[in-house]
């Protein structure tokens, strides 16, 4: 594959980077990234990856756009309220970069569908919004040996880690499994500063591009935490956990299963 004149112009700020060059740009164009969840984190990740020229972008989301999403899910616009998130996201990605090949999956990530989707991709962005899905993405990527970026946001804080399954610290190495249901604050208590999703989702896209190009040092073996109020970024080194139920010495999890979804109390829930 060689770059067209239009591509050379479009991607010129990448191509003049010595570490990317024409060869790196061609690599991006031949790469496939899957975004699970077209929400707060997936929105900036999808837009930047499309702009960067990642050739194939998959989007998994079973939801429709709600007015309350627009405060942070910048891939969706006011006119999209009520539309399927996959269609809304696809339209913005193609508007930024019409040569992107977008594959959409109108479904919630579950144990019985996610492995076969993941295995077609080079890298996965976890943009999901609940613990059951986050553990599912971690486990599915482990079984399929596909690297991914995990991230979470809450109130004024965010965190992320890149996982090379079987080689570096995974989400279960740190947290084991979902928190006890009665410990989880209900949705109405769990606000989030919208721009936080932009910061953390953009960092996830950075990791994807670094991985695809083999650039620099990935955020593996360390959780990056961001506190927007104090403007502190901290990298907390985390070794692999020999007692990890998934990738430890004596794994308890040997096949993909759905964790129980923790449901909020519908009386105070706005989701």
């Amino acid at each position: 594959m060689s770059l067209t004149d239009e591509q050379i112009e479009r991607y010129s700020r990448h191509i003049i980077l010595q570490q990317v060059g024409g060869a790196g740009q061609e690599k991006l164009l031949a790469s496939k990234v899957l975004i699970i969840g077209a929400g707060g984190l997936g929105a900036p990740a999808g837009l930047y990856l499309a702009a960067a020229g990642v050739g194939t972008i998959g989007i998994v989301d079973g939801d429709n756009v709600d007015l309350s999403n627009l405060q942070r899910q910048i891939i969706h616009h006011t006119a999209d309220v009520g539309a399927e998130k996959i269609r809304s996201a696809e339209a913005k990605i193609l508007a930024i970069n019409p040569e992107t090949r977008v594959r959409t999956y109108k479904q919630w990530a579950k144990a019985d569908n996610i492995r076969e989707i993941i295995r077609d991709y080079d890298f996965v962005i976890d943009g999901t919004d609940n613990f059951a899905a986050k553990f599912l993405v971690n486990d599915a990527c482990y079984f399929e040996k596909v690297p991914f970026s995990h991230a979470g946001i809450l109130r004024f804080d965010g965190q992320l880690i890149t996982v090379l399954p079987g080689e570096t610290t995974c989400y279960r190495c740190i947290f084991g499994g979902p928190p006890p249901a009665d410990a989880v604050p209900s949705c109405s208590q769990a606000g989030v500063l919208g721009v936080l999703a932009g910061v953390i989702g953009s960092l996830q896209a950075t990791e994807a591009i670094k991985y695809l190009l083999g650039l620099g040092d990935l955020l593996t073996g360390a959780l990056l935490t961001y506190d927007a109020l104090s403007m502190d970024f901290r990298k907390v080194s985390l070794n692999r956990n020999p007692q990890c139920p998934l990738c430890g010495d004596d794994p308890k999890i040997t096949e993909l299963k759905d964790e129980q979804q923790i449901l909020c109390d519908p009386k105070n829930c706005e989701c």
Binding site: G37, G39, L223, T225, I262
Partner: protein, 70 residues
């Protein structure tokens, strides 16, 4: 004695357990925290029994969902 809690030096007068440190640091929901001690993740059942020593490095790692529905 001195502990390094989330990267900050913290003076404590007496030896305490991880559970006691979580309370002292005003962690409202200890069930939503994973604890790393000197590079190793502690089992939740060890919070109560693990006594901290001078110069221990402790990290509290918080569960974070996605911002809409946890």
């Amino acid at each position: 004695m001195n502990l390094v809690v989330n990267g900050k030096n913290t003076d404590i007068s007496d030896s305490m357990t991880v559970t006691e440190l979580l309370a002292k640091e005003d962690v409202k929901m200890p069930q939503m925290v994973s604890v790393e001690l000197n590079g190793q993740i502690l089992k939740r059942s060890e919070f109560e029994t693990t006594r901290l020593k001078d110069d221990d490095k402790v990290e509290f790692l918080y569960y974070m969902g996605g911002g809409t529905c946890l």
